[in-house]
Symmetry: C2
Amino acid sequence: MGRHSENQTQLLKLSASQVPADSQQRAKQFVLNLQDEICTALEELDGKARFHEDCWQRAEGGQGRTRVIRDGRVFEQGGVNFSEVWGDSLPPAILAQRPEAAGHSFFVTGTSMVLHPRNPYVPTVHLNYRYFEAGPIWWFGGGADLTPYYPFAEDAIHFHQTLKGACDRSHPEYYPTFKRWCDEYFYLPHRQEQRGIGGIFFDYQDASSKLYVGCQPDSQAALYSQQVGTVSRSWEDIFAFVQSCGHAFLPAYLPIVQRRQEIEYSDRERQFQLYRRGRYVEFNLVYDRGTVFGLQTNGRAESILMSLPPLTRWEYGYQTQPGSPEAQLTEFFLQPQDWANGCLTQK
Amino acid sequence: MGRHSENQTQLLKLSASQVPADSQQRAKQFVLNLQDEICTALEELDGKARFHEDCWQRAEGGQGRTRVIRDGRVFEQGGVNFSEVWGDSLPPAILAQRPEAAGHSFFVTGTSMVLHPRNPYVPTVHLNYRYFEAGPIWWFGGGADLTPYYPFAEDAIHFHQTLKGACDRSHPEYYPTFKRWCDEYFYLPHRQEQRGIGGIFFDYQDASSKLYVGCQPDSQAALYSQQVGTVSRSWEDIFAFVQSCGHAFLPAYLPIVQRRQEIEYSDRERQFQLYRRGRYVEFNLVYDRGTVFGLQTNGRAESILMSLPPLTRWEYGYQTQPGSPEAQLTEFFLQPQDWANGCLTQK
């Protein structure tokens, strides 16, 4: 009896660090359902445009379901993508982070979304959740972040507080770690600017109890989560966390659209929006891990680059007018802020 | 007497593979003069807009003279940049090609130019010539290439024949090698398309007699130039060649502008131009060596990204109409062609 219960405990411990037999199917079903849930709500919100769907196959293994909305009442262009991809070997950039995956085939499934609204007062938003398996290892990654063109503190606070709520249901250290990680990831070194007001971002989340695998080793997120110490969790725990974050997207974003969608704007705001969209392009093409992964694995270019905005402009030497809303955006909102606590700190 | 003349011969041989004492000054003066020559001619051609000049200093060592033209009669936006930069160490991507430069300080000077005309019938054009020194080694690099939006074979033929003439004055194998290299360099793997109709491109040209250093080892340019065998030349020879190419730019490009600048166009051509400009952005931010070098060496972002177009659009799943001029551009003109011989080969 004693021996039996000891075995049971060992089995439970073992299974806690292991992956269920139907892990790939459950992860895939979650991201497919999330794509559906988001597309349905966005169509209802837009009221004019519908998503156009393309299903595609990847010759080397895999398939996808790309959905694009354009010329809507709210959305000038946007896409919500689902894909599952498998192959013989992960690309070098990922193997450098996860050497245990070398020599193993891989499976990845995920959903990613970028929405470019027409009205400059409505922020651009991005979401991505993904699940990897490769030989002995597995992990979840993803997040959601907001890129406003005009500075509304209440929008930034609402977005962060909603995501924080979703994180806190799983572990109190998730939000503080993954908020910092998001600020560090969505950063343009050549502009010394954040891409937007952030949100949450994480990668390589598995049962190894380390939150910070894949951060820059000397980053704020890594230093913070090293202080936190170990965080005990299973595949089920992390999957529940990712689901919680995924389902938090609509309550985080829709109220912001509803508040801003009817505000009138002039050519000035439109031109600033087009100019700022250039930064989005610069980030995605120069730095974004998902874009680079997609291009390295011979992904479907149209689906990968669906994140790029419908219309963008670059202007040499552009400067905001001191004291203007545009200056407030770049000077305050595009520096990391403690939005969940409603605080603005001047740099 | 015999011994003296033997010494002289040895000295001459030695100096032929060496760099003159005033190499940096002469290279710098050439690119400064080329910038002046081009800007003067472009202002005269445009007739409306003038170049705005910004002089800047690089904290880590160096300076530049950025000139930008915009809202002109011909040019919607364009820039001609001069810079000279020095520092303790070349970035890793260059050291991988030139390991002899490791542990040495470097000097580089160059001029680079991108012009984005307003009329979709006038091609975008790019030019860059640069000179590097690092410890025991030096080299020249650069080239010029044309990116039309509408297919005019006579423009492509004129551009290539003019550059070929400039190359042939130095060596008959330069054009065939550097034309192939250009086709291989200005290629977007994720689109399986050329950026434009090419021109010439070369890098790492020094007295080592190898034309192909810095090509992909299995590329057409490398295989072709390996067959050519050794090409004996000195610093002076290569400098003369680069000058010849630089001065060929205006005769290669201006007649094309003059032929196309007054052609009327509608929204259809404008929309296609904006769409194709997206490919220019994709190439420059994902693949371009100069852009990556600039961002890696903490260069002036505004000057580096001056190459990006004023207005650009992305459209998911765009397809040209079969048989249209737009289809002819992508199907024929954006595949490598033997333009200097006036031949179009279907892929």
